[in-house]
Symmetry: C2
Subunit: 236 residues, 2 copies
């Protein structure tokens, strides 16, 4: 697959650090700017690539963020992508609103949460938000779901468990899976290495890959329906 | 102390749930609206108290959020408070910008982070942001700092450790302390009970109370300087 990542968290762009791409810049050519190239050939665009230093904050109100996101989508030579993944900050603020208004035809959104009930308040709002903007919800991922002590093997649900599944049933949205806590996720991210490649045999990476397969299947199914000629779907 | 809490996270208001105040509304009187009253007599205002249901999202761009925060600060009969705590969403977006512009005389900001390097990017930006807006940084708290297995007592640094202290030294900001992970924090928050009262003898609550003392000392010292007549400070 040819994959692009747009880090649309304007105030807290973390994708470059997690992919080991700190200090990179966008390459500018005659037809626009080109994404930076990260691990596995991924095309990556982030506000961080436009700032001079990692300590510089972006002090912008919402409408300016809309303009930046529009430019990231329209004036970057993304190339021929199979997937464009857009990483958004939590909540239902300017960034998701801009993305959904600018890309109404997108395949859908994936909501990542921790299991606690407190977090489910924001998840419920995000689902209602997506429905109001008529963007499909592909599903919910419960991240940081359980921790197995590396010393004794005892499992502790540090942020409880089951909140993601519960709200997915309540609001009739698919549940994509649970990813457990693993200290190596944080270590690899800080080192800029993709955890699922570095520790592909870990339970967290296996849970992650199962989720990826579900999302892939959803998009393939959707593509198939899109390609069907109108009369074929009428005859169904 | 008489304490007010303004939950200024417009898109993900979590304070009502964590204080067991779900479903409450602001009381409206002839001179304005009154805060809802929570545990220990705290006066609490949150966007959640204005919405009809917990699944309703607030689909607003930045400038509308500025108006809401201004109204929360100016048109709520807060009463005679010793402390007004304003809970902000992560990052340097519209909410912190609005609060700092509307309350330039505030005592300062406390930045809460997890230990990982990835998080420190956002912390660095928040410190620069506060300095540019000329609001003092009281200090940094490293939350989710280490986890002790309740079965075997082994400590695992799930999100690494030391990131908060490191950046506080780099950017010359006080370090207020580390709060370890404890599953009971999540459980109590979901039940709407203050963890530091429910489990006051836990290491996390003790770490929390040490931090509170440091913040209290900072504000008392600042108050003393403010009350000193100008000639007294000149003679020093």
């Amino acid at each position: 697959y040819s994959v692009g990542i747009l880090d649309a968290d304007i105030h807290g762009p973390c994708v470059p650090k997690m992919l080991g791409m700190e200090g990179q810049r966008l390459r500018v050519g005659p037809v626009g700017a080109f994404p930076a190239v990260g691990p596995l050939g991924m095309n990556v665009v982030s506000m961080e690539f436009l700032l001079g230093s990692k300590e510089v904050p972006v002090i912008w109100r919402g409408p300016l963020k809309m303009i930046a996101i529009r430019q990231f989508l329209s004036e970057i030579a993304w190339g021929d992508l199979d997937y464009l993944l857009i990483d958004l900050p939590p909540g239902t603020g300017d960034e998701p609103l801009s993305v959904m208004q600018l890309l109404p035809e997108m395949d859908g959104v994936v909501i990542v949460t921790i299991p606690s009930e407190v977090s489910q308040i924001v998840v419920g709002k995000a689902i209602t938000f997506s429905r109001q903007l008529e963007v499909p919800v592909i599903g919910i991922i419960e991240n940081m779901s359980g921790f197995v002590c590396p010393e004794c093997g005892a499992e502790t649900n540090i942020f409880k468990t089951g909140g993601g599944k519960k709200i997915s049933e309540e609001l009739e949205v698919p549940f994509l899976g649970r990813i457990p806590l693993d200290p190596r996720i944080c270590e690899d991210s800080d080192r800029g290495l993709p955890f699922i490649l570095e520790h592909s045999d870990s339970p967290a990476a296996e849970a992650f890959m199962e989720i990826v397969e579900k999302i892939e299947a959803y998009i393939k199914e959707k593509d198939k329906l899109k390609r069907q000629p109108p009369d074929a779907s009428n005859n169904k």
